[in-house]
Each structure stands twice: as structure tokens, then as C-alpha cells.
């Protein structure tokens, strides 16, 4: 049993805690925040005790949320889903950061991991959160019925209140919590006992995200904002490639910087660490370091442009290489030999960088004896951070105190299995026996970037006698992201197939009888990560450009072609028809180019139309409009779906038009926002988002529009200028090369 005092009053509160597998009593307090979650630790073991809800006698309803909050909103949406079935008044609810315990709080839709990624949080937790809420409500009803001596069937709930209509009696949830007796096992809730969508009070109605007001008055706290007594500051000079090591270190000038405490050559390519009294001293000293690095055994003097040509040759079959099968339907590629006509298309995508606005950082405070640690870091996986802290320091996970903070953007960068942004703080804090905040500059963040990999694609399509698409063969040459980002999942549940690079090559809603997609894996030695939209961003640029190319070459309208391909997928057709209506597709304005793209992303149906104009002298593409129709299943927070989709479009625009990491002679060529150019307000088109309603389970929102944008723009250019852009980003120089005859359709 957990007992904690409330600092302000010195009073403890009796409360009801309830979970899926078992029930118990606990004491909760008011005023806990993200960094001060109530711990579920109690006399009961995690296998029998699964706490999500606590109700205090004064009516305060505390609900655990296992999501990390990086602006996507699911830290609010998950408790809201539970509160819906609990029939709680949202005003009574306090959101509590769930501690990093995957056995209790792991996402059943994400391999049981506590990992906020893949737009999978609401999708994965939706059903269990509803059941947990319904269980608590059942126990509350049973207790009210017992108290009043009436049948449970005579009771109903209003938000946070049980009502007995026959006698007009009412008891609040808090009142019931004060006398509630809990059953030895959690009640069973059958699916048909959950609310029907028409009965929802919270789902489908927008609430303000819990942390949003703190982002308007400056009080939001990210890891970079943490200060603890006695804290020093760290900076790291790191090798460009993870398998380089410091060969020589000249730190004389760095040590001479006022305020420098120490300089440490950290193991395993973590880099050379500077510890100083202030951030500015740490940065100044880091810049004064002179370090030479051993060449990367794998990457050597990697050159991305030359490598891209090699990747394209592999995809084309000119360089022979073993493929890994990703997805196959029907007879695979057998149909190509019997096809009446075949078409081929090639596409390329450059490296892209996350550019989350908060440069990576972490605070660690290792105890003097080195046997325990307290950490603060913005991570997409609280549990991974704890594991990495424990393994780095060689201590038990129970000796790691994790403090949850807000994330200044994630986009996939904060989810690697090795939690690289945390390691430097752990090692330096252990060295100096003081709390340390390790700060990466923007330049460090790019130099240490883990990129969406470069890729080369070749698609061959076969058509039958009637012009129908019968065969589809997609060959992708790219690095293996999964093996770098998450070897645990790669060698485990992924079965050594690179889901993070290849997802999006399947075309489940297109009626194409024979399909094959294959991965030609290369090992560049470059740091990699999933990035908003993962493999979809490159693969959909290839597939949706090529679908469009196929339609245009055959003289078929790209919308009608896709409607024909989705003839067996009514939800797909619905978003296509919706976006056609929004963009007035069938009566398009002359003078602009219109381009369409459609994606089935983990079940979310999404279609977009770009309207563009071009400057044929400069090669600049400008978006005037971008229309999106999205069907993500039940719309838990509709305005947030719109916001996420708007942002996802803006992110996709950057990857489509300007964002590019290049590597030459083993050096990353970009270093800050002057040469890694992301979208600003001046680039913004009019963006319109329509949610196409459906009652299916939620299937995800956060990144679904990002991969739409590049193919929609490329297809618009094809319509406007008659040239096909085959390489993202679609830089002005590439547009001009295409206009000058480099890439005629």
C-alpha cells in the first residue's frame, strides 16, 4: 500500500484503485504532475494488480496515461477514452504520467512496449482503455446498488454520478469511493456492454489537451528546462559515423576556457565530453577541441550522391544482389511475362533529418556510489530510457528513477533502442559525481542525426488485355533502418525484415492480383532512424507517382484510375471521392497543376490533392492549396486530427520540396537551418482537412498525411508541365533539369 502525504495539508486521501486484472486500495494525492506521477507500487505484484484509475473521496479521478507527449495529444486522448466508459466528468479527471512499467502500461497494439510511435497509441490502447473504464464503472454501480439495496439494473450514471431514478437518489463517484468495497477480481466486461458511438459524451468532442495552457505561458517543462541543485553542463563532440573513434584529442584550448570542469573521452563512440559550469562554457570548450577520428570501417569516405547511383543500379538489377522478400500477393511477378504491356518507373529519395525543435539533451544524476540514478529526458519510450540507464551504468532497473517531461518534438528521433541522447549524461554524471545536463547544439543534433535513409526504387507494372493492372513489382534499395534503430525488434518480432523501410510498399486496397515488393538492403554505416511516416514517405512517393504515371500514360484520369483500383475498398473510395469534391477535381482550374495521392496507412484511409504553380525560370514549386480527406476510424478528438493532419502536411512539404541531407567525403554537408531548410509560414498553402466519418476502431492519425505530399506535388507537376519528377526533395535545380528534358514523361 502506498501512502504519501500532501505537502500543503499534510492529509492523505483514501482512494479506490482499480485495474484490469485486480483491484486494490491506494492513497493518492492532489497536484501530481508529469514529473511527479503516483507510483503504482503496492503490496500486490504487477501480475495481479493493474492500476489505471484512482478515485478520491472528494471526487478527483486520477487516470494513468502511458503515452509520451510530443504534441500529438495522445497523453490526453488515452485517459479520455477511459473516462468515456467510466462515465467520468472530464472536469474531475487528472492525468497522471504512468510510470515506466511495460508489464502494466505497455501498448498491446505495439508489441506490449511503452513506446509512443507509429501513430499507434490511440489505436493500440483504445479497446483496453475502454474496458478498464467500464470495469471501474461497474464496481461503482455495484457499490451504489449495495448501499441503497436496489438492483444494479435500476441504476444509471451521469458524468461522475450514479443515479437511481425511482427514488431520485444520487451518489457521486467520490462519495462511493469513500465506502467502496472491491471485488476480489475485476469484473468481466463484454464488448456489447461498452457504449455505442451514439452514446459517447467525450469521444468525438474536443477537449483542451492537459498541457496546452503551459505551452502558452512558458511554464511547459521539457528536459532542457530541468535544473537540479549542483548541476553542471555537458557538451559532446561526436564522430560522424557511429563506428569512428577519437584518435587524437588536443584539448589544451578547451581546458583553458573559463568554467571548464573536465574533458572525458567516452567509450563506444559516444564522443569526447566536456563538463563545465555553464552551457556557454561547455559549448565554447567543445568548439575549441581538436579531435581527429579513426575512419569509419563501414562508411569510410561515404558519398551519398555516388552511392545513390549505385543504389539505383541495384534496384534496376544491373548490380546483382540478394533480395529480402517483403510482401507478396498472387503470383508475385509471374504476370509480367504474360502482360500485354509493361511500364517501369524509377524514383529516388534523399536522406532526411527530423529537426525536432528541441535539440536533444538529457539530465542525469548518478548517485555518489554509482549504484542509482535519476534521469530526465524527452523520450518516446520511458521503458527504453530506464533500460538504457540501467545497462549503461550496470545497475538494476529498480535503481533508475525516471522523470517524465514533455518532448519538444519527436518525429521518431527519440525512440531508438539505444536512447543515444541519454548516454552522454549518464557517463559524464558518473565521472564527475554531480548532476549533469548534456546539451546538443543544433549542429550536434544534425551531426548526430539519425536520418530517414536514402533510397532508390524501381517499379515495374504489367497490364492485361483490357488495360487492367495485373502485376506490380517494387524493388527498394535502401539501408536497413530497423537493424540500426531497434535490433531487439528486428531480430525478434520483425523476423529480420526491415519493417521501418519497407512498410508502404504493400498496396492492400488496390485490386492488383499479383504483387511483389522486395528489399535490397545496403549497409552504408550512416546513422538511421524512423522518421515521421517511416518507409511510407519514400515508398509512397514511388508508388503513388507511378500509379499516376501509369494512368496518364494510358490516358486515364488519375482519380478514375484509383477509383477503379479501389473498387473493392469502399472506405478508400470514400476518401478519394471526398478529396475530389473538396478540390473540385473534376472541374480543375487551368493554369494550376493538380496532383492526387492516396494511402492506406495501417488502415487509416487518406487522400490528398495538391494544387501548385511553378516558376519555370527558377524551378520553384509553390503550393496554393492542399486538400486532405482522412478516415482514421472513430475520431476521438476531431480538432486534434485536423491539427495533426495540417502539421503532417507541412512536414511532408519539407521532405518533398527542400529537406535534404547529403554526405560527401565522409562528412555531413548540412549543419543548421540555413542549409537544412524546413517549411516556414511563407511556404504555407491553404490546407483543408475533412474527416470522413466511420465507426471502426481508431487506426492512427499523427503521420498519415506526411507521405501524401511528395507524390501529390510530383503528380501536379506532371499535369502542369508534362514532366515527371523522380527525386525528392524536388529542388528547383531538379525541376529545371526535368523541364530541360532530363525526365520527360
Amino acid at each position: 500500500m502506498l501512502r504519501r502525504s500532501i505537502p500543503e495539508t499534510g492529509v492523505t486521501r483514501r482512494a479506490l484503485m482499480i485495474g484490469a486484472a485486480g483491484l486494490s486500495f491506494a492513497f493518492v494525492e492532489r497536484g501530481f504532475g508529469l514529473a511527479d506521477a503516483i507510483s503504482p507500487a503496492s503490496a500486490a505484484s504487477p501480475t495481479t494488480f493493474n492500476p489505471w484509475v484512482a478515485i478520491a473521496p472528494d471526487g478527483l479521478i486520477s487516470i494513468m496515461s502511458p503515452a509520451a507527449e510530443m504534441g500529438q495529444g495522445s497523453k490526453t486522448s488515452l485517459p479520455l477514452i477511459l473516462a468515456e466508459e467510466l462515465d467520468a466528468d472530464w472536469k474531475d479527471v487528472r492525468i497522471v504520467a504512468a510510470p515506466p512499467n511495460e508489464e502494466i502500461y505497455g501498448n498491446p497494439g505495439f508489441l506490449g512496449m511503452m513506446y509512443t510511435a507509429g501513430s499507434a497509441t490511440v489505436a493500440g490502447y483504445y479497446t483496453p482503455m475502454r474496458q478498464f473504464g467500464a470495469q471501474v464503472r461497474r464496481v461503482i454501480l455495484d457499490n451504489a446498488a449495495r448501499k441503497w439495496g436496489v438492483a444494479v439494473s435500476e441504476l444509471r450514471t451521469e458524468p461522475s454520478v450514479v443515479v437511481h431514478d425511482k427514488t431520485g437518489r444520487r451518489l457521486s463517484y467520490g462519495e462511493i469511493a469513500s465506502f467502496a468495497v472491491l471485488p476480489p477480481t475485476a469484473p468481466q466486461i463484454n464488448p456489447d456492454e461498452l457504449k455505442r458511438p451514439g452514446q459517447f459524451r467525450l469521444i468525438g468532442n474536443d477537449v483542451t489537451r492537459f498541457e496546452l495552457p503551459t505551452k502558452v505561458d512558458g511554464s511547459a517543462r521539457y528536459a532542457i528546462d530541468i535544473q537540479v541543485p549542483g548541476m553542471l553542463y555537458g557538451a559532446l563532440l561526436t564522430p560522424v559515423f557511429p563506428d569512428s573513434r577519437a584518435k587524437t584529442i588536443d584539448d589544451a584550448a578547451a581546458r583553458a576556457v573559463h568554467g571548464v570542469v573536465g574533458i572525458y573521452n567516452l567509450p563506444n563512440g559516444v564522443g569526447v565530453g566536456v563538463v563545465a559550469e555553464t552551457p556557454w562554457a561547455a559549448f565554447t570548450a567543445k568548439d575549441a577541441l581538436r579531435v581527429s577520428w579513426t575512419p569509419s570501417p563501414k562508411a569510410g569516405a561515404f558519398d551519398s550522391e555516388a552511392s545513390m547511383d549505385r543504389y539505383a543500379a541495384i534496384s534496376r538489377g544491373e548490380i546483382s544482389q540478394q533480395a529480402t522478400l517483403w510482401d507478396k500477393a498472387g503470383d508475385g511477378t509471374d504476370g509480367l511475362e504474360t502482360a500485354t504491356e509493361t511500364l517501369t518507373g524509377e524514383y529516388r529519395c534523399d536522406y532526411a533529418y527530423h529537426a525536432q525543435m528541441e535539440p536533444l539533451n538529457a539530465v542525469a544524476s548518478v548517485s555518489e556510489d554509482g549504484n542509482s540514478v535519476e534521469i530526465w529526458c524527452g523520450t518516446q519510450s520511458q521503458a527504453m530510457a530506464v533500460r538504457v540507464a540501467a545497462s549503461t551504468l550496470g545497475i538494476d532497473r529498480s535503481k533508475v528513477k525516471f522523470n517524465e517531461v514533455l518532448l519538444g518534438g519527436g518525429f521518431g528521433r527519440r525512440g531508438p533502442q539505444d536512447q543515444d541522447f541519454l548516454v552522454g549524461a549518464l557517463l559524464l554524471s558518473r565521472e564527475v559525481k554531480r548532476p549533469i545536463k548534456v546539451l546538443w547544439t543544433r549542429e550536434d543534433d544534425i551531426r548526430n542525426g539519425r536520418f530517414r535513409p536514402m533510397s532508390a526504387h524501381r517499379i515495374e507494372a504489367g497490364f492485361g488485355k483490357g488495360g487492367e493492372l495485373t502485376t506490380w513489382h517494387h524493388r527498394v534499395t535502401t539501408d536497413n533502418v530497423s537493424i540500426f534503430q531497434d535490433p531487439g525488434r528486428y531480430y525478434g518480432p520483425f523476423k529480420q525484415r526491415d519493417m521501418l523501410s519497407l512498410l508502404g510498399t504493400e498496396l492492400p486496397t488496390y485490386s492488383i492480383p499479383n504483387r511483389l515488393s522486395e528489399h535490397f538492403a545496403v549497409d552504408s554505416g550512416v546513422r538511421l532512424a524512423s522518421l515521421r511516416g517511416i518507409g511510407f514517405t519514400a515508398n509512397k512517393f514511388a508508388t503513388e507517382s507511378f500509379v499516376d504515371e501509369s494512368a496518364r500514360k494510358r490516358g486515364i484520369d488519375p482519380l478514375e484510375f484509383r477509383l477503379s483500383l479501389t473498387r473493392n475498398a469502399p472506405r478508400a473510395r470514400a476518401v478519394l471521392e471526398a478529396v475530389a469534391e473538396m478540390s473540385n477535381w473534376r472541374q480543375r482550374r487551368p493554369g494550376s497543376g493538380y496532383g492526387l495521392a492516396y494511402i492506406d496507412y495501417s488502415g487509416t484511409q487518406i487522400a490528398g490533392v495538391a494544387e501548385i504553380v511553378m516558376d519555370r525560370t527558377s524551378g520553384e514549386i509553390r503550393l496554393k492549396n492542399f486538400w486532405v480527406a482522412i478516415d482514421p476510424g472513430v475520431a476521438v478528438q476531431p480538432d486534434n486530427i485536423v491539427a495533426q493532419t495540417e502539421g503532417s502536411v507541412v512536414y511532408g512539404m519539407g521532405m518533398a520540396l527542400s529537406e535534404q541531407i547529403t554526405i560527401k567525403d565522409g562528412e555531413i554537408q548540412q549543419s543548421n537551418f540555413y542549409d537544412y531548410t524546413v517549411m516556414r509560414m511563407r511556404d504555407l498553402p491553404n490546407i483543408e482537412v475533412r474527416i470522413v466519418r466511420s465507426d471502426g476502431r481508431p487506426t492512427g492519425v499523427g503521420q498519415m498525411a506526411t507521405p501524401l505530399v511528395a507524390p501529390a506535388i510530383g503528380n501536379a507537376v506532371a499535369e502542369l508541365a508534362g514532366v515527371r519528377l523522380r527525386h525528392t526533395p524536388m529542388l528547383p535545380s531538379r525541376v529545371l533539369a526535368a523541364l530541360n528534358g532530363g525526365a520527360r514523361q
Binding site: M70, G71, Q72, G73, D206, T208, R209, E211, L212, P213, T214, K215, V216, D217, G218, S219, A220, Y222, I224, D225, Q227, Y233, H258, T278, P279, W280, A355, Q356, M357, E358, P359, L406, L407, G408, G409, F411, L439, T441, R442, E443, D639, N640, A643, Q644, E646, G647, S648, V649, V650, Y651, N672, F673, Y674, V678, M679, R680, M681, R682, L684, I687
Partner: protein, 151 residues
């Protein structure tokens, strides 16, 4: 060097090398972390503050240059989020990750102070000093127009 100035109406002093950016003085010395570090190069606007009423990149402002000047940060824009820009930000539900928003709000407040009814082009031009990686630009635009309208 020791520099005296005011922050959010209160007297402040900082003892740091003269080239230290105001950003780090605010965040780490004066414990006002609402002003954010994004690029350190005046390219993203996350560090935007007001100095003597005009917007300024605090990452590009050296400590030596603020002797006797008045600095306002997001923490001092209003006592209780009642500045018209903050009210509009809440109404339009602008922030996502929120990290850039202090700077965006400080710029928007400076814009409306100098130009209470800006055209859309003026807003876009002024606010393009900022980066929001979450892509909240449509809502920032709407919020500034709302703040201009509602005051």
C-alpha cells in the same frame, strides 16, 4: 562581467563572460526557461524575447549589449495568459509540441504592438522568422488574426 538590466519589470544582474548569449543567461542564470534554445543562430525564433519593446533573438544578443535595457520574456508577457495573443493561442489551440511557441507568441505580440491590424502578407512576412516543426502555421496565422480582431 556583471551586467544590470530588467527582466519582466524586475531588476536583474548577471555575471558571465560578455559574449554569453542573453538566451543562456535567462534560462540558466535567471531560471526563466520559457525562452527556448532551438538553433543558436537566429534562424528559428524559439529564443525570441522583447528588448525595450522590440523583438530580439536572445541567442544573438550578447550579455554585454543589454546593460540598462528592459527585457521581456514569455513569463512576463502577462500575469495569467491574458495577453490577447495568448488568449487567441488558446482559442485556436495552436501548440502541438509547444517548444517554439514562446518565441512565436513573443513575435506575434511585438507585431501587433507595432501594427495592430496587419495584413495577412505582413503577418506571414514577420512570422517567417520562426520555425514550427510541428507545422502549426495555419493556427498561428488564425490566432494572430483573431488577436488583432478581438484585441
Amino acid at each position: 562581467m556583471i551586467v544590470h538590466f530588467t527582466v519582466n519589470g524586475s531588476r536583474a544582474e548577471a555575471d558571465a563572460p560578455p559574449e554569453t548569449p542573453l538566451l543562456w543567461v535567462l534560462r540558466e542564470h535567471l531560471k526563466l526557461p520559457g525562452t527556448r534554445f532551438g538553433c543558436g543562430a537566429g534562424l528559428c525564433g524559439a529564443c525570441m524575447v522583447h528588448i525595450d519593446g522590440d523583438r530580439a533573438f536572445s541567442c544573438q544578443t550578447q550579455l554585454s549589449g543589454i546593460e540598462g535595457r528592459a527585457v521581456t520574456t514569455i513569463e512576463g508577457l502577462s500575469k495569467d495568459s491574458t495577453h490577447p495573443v495568448q488568449k487567441a493561442w488558446l482559442k485556436e489551440q495552436v501548440p502541438q509540441c509547444g517548444y517554439c511557441q514562446s518565441g512565436q507568441i513573443m513575435s506575434a505580440a511585438a507585431l501587433l504592438k507595432h501594427s495592430p491590424h496587419p495584413t495577412r502578407d505582413e503577418i506571414v512576412d514577420y512570422m517567417s522568422a520562426h520555425i514550427c516543426r510541428c507545422g502549426t502555421y495555419p493556427r498561428i496565422l488564425r490566432a494572430i488574426e483573431r488577436a488583432s480582431r478581438e484585441g
